[in-house]
Subunit: 316 residues, 4 copies
């Protein structure tokens, strides 16, 4: 965790607020390490800024969604500004309910409110269920629920946790046009002692790739020659120059692993910019692939010892 | 163009409606080839479905945005269902205005409406300018303008084209939190004669990469060994299986070019699935890189002739 | 075979003469196809020149030896001058005997003669057995035997076939310092119909590699991306320029195989010079590796058909 | 140099004897470092064995010849047995003369003697000049000259240095069939302090490559990703198993260079066997290519420092 290991102070978390959102539900999934206070923030940018300013120890922010793809605010927010690293990841099933005050029927719904992304994911179902209702944007799914409870609007598209918190009824569940959506949240903190390797870890890095044929291939070769699989690669245009791309990459393993550390050091030599965004336990269902013998720490250690011997001129 | 070459019938276009959106502005940029009728559709899915059903000859849909990243509805919509190919691309500067009925002042705005993505891109400025206004979701930016003109809401965040179409005043311009945003639109049509190579083309393809270390590298090597630069690569999780990724790739060149055709044929051998999404003139400011001599069509033709000779047993 | 398919004329072979050498023994191993006349030549260069001039249909020449390495005269002789192709290979166990006239004892040997290469391979044993004998160079191992029979010298280091041909006794056998030597002979002919693919073939090619970092890697990538194993690779300095290397390469498969043909065509584009030196049945003990599905002819044919479809604009 | 740095004892060299051979001429080219005694040995194996046994400090042996190719006795002799490393290389122009006792004319030559390799390189010219002479093998070119001086034979094919040493006349010069031959000699010593990097160095290594498609490519990729050019690569069959090849490789740079050391350590992980055969100043006319910035020692040092920082969790 980002806080000092000897500290007993509770950890201060920022999440996308207000209370009752998916982000709070994800925060609940952090379990034991989440002992501490969670405080809602109005945007990813605000949450990350709060961590950078020292107001929070960490921020839980959405990184990608199986329907909507990556979350640009998080991708960009992690890379711009002072360094932050990911120390945890959480996968949350995203299920939307149509929350109303007890007694409200579908026919009585004139306004339905939610966060723009939730509205986008449920557009088809909302149009089918409530063809005549006005669709109103709220600052968050939970904010929509709160204002429905207050009588301002008639229905909210929100997380189950928000419905129960505001004592609303779920008139309909699984409201998403593509059910089974999963959102990956990451916990971002200021640099500090890294999470210990667990044997099933992930490392996240962003690099700026030079604009020449084969540059990306050279970069990926640095992973491949060390037997490291990538679990995600995504290009992001850099705002400075056309044709210069930034790549956001997740790979297997921990920077403390020799093969991963060596690959990252190679990227540092190859690329104009590399930003290390953390090594942390992987939370997805995918088991780690066995590390080939030639890419294990022991192979690196032996090779290094051998190199030292031949450099010294002893009989290797 | 997607229509039959001998046809003189005007082309029927779908775009994200209603009239007055950025999509219509992009449609205007298609120039001479856009002779024909444009009809608004309510969603990317609906526009692409209309093309597949033969109601339209082509649909102009947003592919990626320099702020928001790729547009999942388009990425997924092109890949799922009957084949579609991209025949054109257009880059459009995205500038939002705050459109009001003549005479309205900032103080008089109680409701501000727009499409969720526009609201997301302008959130900061809206909050600063109109801290007390309700933010309302509309089906599109133009729909917001239309309903402001109709007196339903007080202000719309929309394209300049929509403001002028509905005779609204721009109370503020450049409303986006990150000015300078560009959206890349693509024109999707049913398969048909491909656009002729122009010497500065792009080819789009999606592939499903096997889940083994180095598989992506092998795939990229097929481009690199033929001297082909990638201009975009993006991973998309496949919904079927964790760990199996789909990659959406734009590369330089036209499938009619020997090097590009050969690379695509190699992908067909390597990957579980390959979907060709078109070759079309590139519209960005980036000039095409010179093709290395060894990767030009002449080099392929000579090599093929040489191969034929040695296979026949003639003195090569 | 190099001769015209419809011809019934016996094949005329050149081998390294005179009769009684290993080359003649190798010629015997050609079996049915060797129906024809064999004529000795004094050097690899002379044998190959005779084929080029049409005096012979083919020449059986040594390509490499497990002790001495490659045979420069053959390597260079195949590459310089009019095209020749390899149509067969033969592996011959090389066992030297010490041949003497009946009645001669070790103590009575004052001169021991052989071809320089044979002398080089048996130097240790000769020095041990006959420390005081003069070592004399003969034009060939068989020539040494012939002249021993004629009483000119006392002992010859030669093949068993030469000893028996000249009615000499083998005073000692397995004379080589490194027993178990194998020589690979190849049958070189003028270009003509290639040997049919057998499913276990080899292809030989020489290429001149440009003098830049990674050039060799690019070249080898053309084999690897198509799943083709190399069975031999050897650099040869080119006489023209320092730093420019020629590589002699044997790979699995037949040029009629799609993957091999494609790889060779790619080399033709990449390299200043490529010379095809034949596809022929492999004669070593090594079974052919199974061709990965993605590299089989069917995969190429399907990929090509798919490419043709997408180029035509039909729904692939 | 191989001897102890603090030692002032003269260095003891072995070379291929006797005196008057090309090897002695090459020894002369070692210049200042050759202060010491040179002693002839009868074979490469004997010279290397003498170094291994401590009788010599170093042996000067031929590694490759631009006409004959590599010298198997040296290639194999360096790899088998206790470790030896190359500490110097020398390129020697090989020019043969036809040496006779003063007064001898071509017509008077009945026997012409030399080392088998010299005879092989001059075969054509000897046959033309002396069609009727017996060709006799000598232990070395110098031995031939010595015995011509002693009246045993009539002519020797030898180095100019041997002719003058034995007061013979050169009846003909440039006797080689391919003039302009160059032999590369290397100085092999027991492991000890390596020659200091000079900025234009070479490193020699042999590796045993696993028998799987792409194994050689993986190996070469380790050089290419670090921007290291190969100057020689040659396959040698391993005697143990068919299909398992050993590769002898020369690359640019010194093992003390970060990029070279890292590449060698990677080979150690990848390959069943790696034998380091030395880093030493390059002696050929080829200037060293500039090291790309990303492959320079500074880039490695910075990357390593960066890696240490991110592993510690400090803001990189």
């Amino acid at each position: 965790m980002p806080s000092d290991a000897s500290s007993t102070a509770p950890t201060r978390f920022a999440f996308l607020g207000p209370e009752g959102t998916f982000a709070e539900a994800a925060l609940g999934m952090l379990g034991a390490s989440a002992q501490g206070s969670g405080r809602p923030e109005s945007s990813v940018a605000a949450a990350l800024a709060g961590v950078r300013a020292g107001e929070y120890d960490a921020a839980l922010v959405p990184m990608e969604n199986s329907v909507e793809g990556s979350v640009p605010a998080t991708m960009d927010g992690l890379v711009s500004g002072d360094p932050l690293v990911i120390t945890r990841e959480v996968f949350l099933d995203v299920a939307f309910v149509l929350a109303v005050r007890p007694g409200t029927t579908a026919a009585g719904i004139r306004t339905v409110a939610s966060h723009p992304h939730a509205l986008a994911q449920c557009r088809g179902r909302i149009a089918a269920l409530l063809p005549d209702a006005d669709v109103v944007v709220a600052a968050s799914t939970a904010d929509a629920a709160r204002r429905v409870a207050a009588g301002e609007w008639d229905a909210a598209v929100c997380a189950p946790i928000a419905a129960s918190r505001y004592r609303l009824d779920a008139l309909d569940t699984d409201l998403a046009d593509h059910p089974g959506a999963v959102t990956r949240f990451v916990l971002a903190a200021r640099p500090g002692p890294l999470p210990s390797p667990t044997g099933a870890d992930k490392t996240t890095v962003t690099v700026v790739v030079p604009d020449r044929t084969g540059a990306l291939l050279d970069l990926l070769a640095e992973f491949a020659v060390r037997g490291i699989s990538l679990t995600r690669i995504e290009s992001r245009p850099t705002r400075e120059r056309l044709g210069v791309y930034s790549f956001s990459i997740d790979c297997e393993g921990h920077v403390a692993d020799r093969r991963v550390g060596d690959a990252l050091a190679a990227l540092h030599r190859l690329c104009a910019e590399v930003r290390f965004l953390g090594s942390y336990p992987r939370a997805d269902a995918q088991p780690a692939k066995p590390v080939p013998e030639r890419a294990g720490d022991a192979a690196f250690t032996e090779a290094e010892a051998w190199l030292a011997r031949i450099r010294e001129g002893s009989a290797a």
